[in-house]
């Protein structure tokens, strides 16, 4: 049992918005061992021309994985989360995420393919502000390992 191939083309609408907070940026930067003062000090971020603290380059994964959770929780997907392995990941930033942003993620299922006895699913999150401004596109491929 792999992944339902009929999922390709499915779009999961954005759920609740995600409010980007300064403390979350600081916490995520610390957890990823990022040292730029622009993640920690508002004055340093402003010196670089940003309105507020800048999120680290992979911060959008928080929002993308929330969107992916909808798919994994969907009984129609057939995905067993305990067998999921992250195969690849990409972030395209249309502009940096900064503290104060209120973001939405719409999830697209772009591809499902058989991989031996398992299957690979590629999803894309289109992250925008609540006003509709494009902020980031993230793409993830998850390998669902076959039952032993």
């Amino acid at each position: 049992m792999g992944i339902n191939p009929d999922l390709v083309g499915r779009i999961y609408p954005a759920g609740a918005s995600y409010q980007v907070g300064r403390e979350k940026i600081r916490e995520f930067a610390t957890a990823t061992k990022a040292s730029s003062p622009a993640h920690f000090e508002v004055s340093a971020a402003r010196d670089l021309g940003y309105a507020d603290l800048v999120a680290p380059p992979t911060f959008a994964i928080i929002i993308a994985q929330r969107a992916d959770a909808q798919l994994i929780a969907d009984p129609a997907s057939g995905i067993d989360f305990s067998r999921v392995v992250h195969a690849d990941q990409r972030f395209t930033h249309h502009r940096p995420i900064v503290a104060g942003d209120e973001l939405l993620a719409e999830l697209y299922v772009d591809q499902v393919r058989e991989m031996g006895a398992g299957a690979m699913i590629t999803t894309r999150s289109e992250i925008t502000t609540v006003a509709g401004e494009k902020v980031a596109t993230t793409t993830s491929s998850l390998l669902v390992r076959a039952e032993d």
């Binding site: 622009a38 305990s82 067998r83 690849d88 990941q89 930033h93």
Partner: protein, 146 residues
């Protein structure tokens, strides 16, 4: 500031080592919201067929980009960042250590200029990332606005 005209394809921008211990994985789980127990519970990791607890792929991806952020001096200049996760980074729990103070697994990183776009003033930095002598990320590339 990096002077674009001085950059050459193949040039090494730098190298560094990031260490990861069990405490780092708990911190990353909390910060990211990814609480898959294979990243903190050895019994569970082994039951699902892993050798031990492994780092979140996103911890590795998230921490190795620091080399590029520090080089360019502006983390917001990273326009595009991608990788493939090819091998897990095993994080052991040495006897007698506090899991948050253990030396941890060393992740070795080297960055090289992979491509330059003079018109867009962007550089693609290709990262070589290995742990215990094995490459753990492939096609790890960041496009930076200069």
């Amino acid at each position: 500031m990096i002077e674009f005209s001085t950059l050459e394809k193949g040039q090494v921008i730098g190298s560094k080592t990031v260490s990861v211990n069990r405490g780092d994985l708990v911190r990353y789980a909390g910060a990211s919201g990814d609480f898959n127990p294979i990243h903190y519970n050895e019994r569970f990791a082994k039951e699902v067929g892993l050798d031990s607890v492994i780092a979140h792929g996103m911890f590795t991806m998230g921490s190795v980009i620091e080399l590029v952020s520090a080089w360019v001096g502006n983390p917001g200049a990273i326009l595009d960042y991608q990788t493939r996760f090819t091998k897990p980074v095993i994080v052991e729990d040495p006897a007698g250590s506090n899991p948050g103070d253990a030396a941890g697994t060393a992740i070795d990183i080297e960055g090289k200029i992979g491509a330059l776009d003079a018109e867009a003033r962007t550089a693609r930095v290709d990262l070589t990332v290995s742990a215990n002598g094995t490459k753990v990320l492939m096609k790890c590339q960041a496009v930076v606005q200069l």
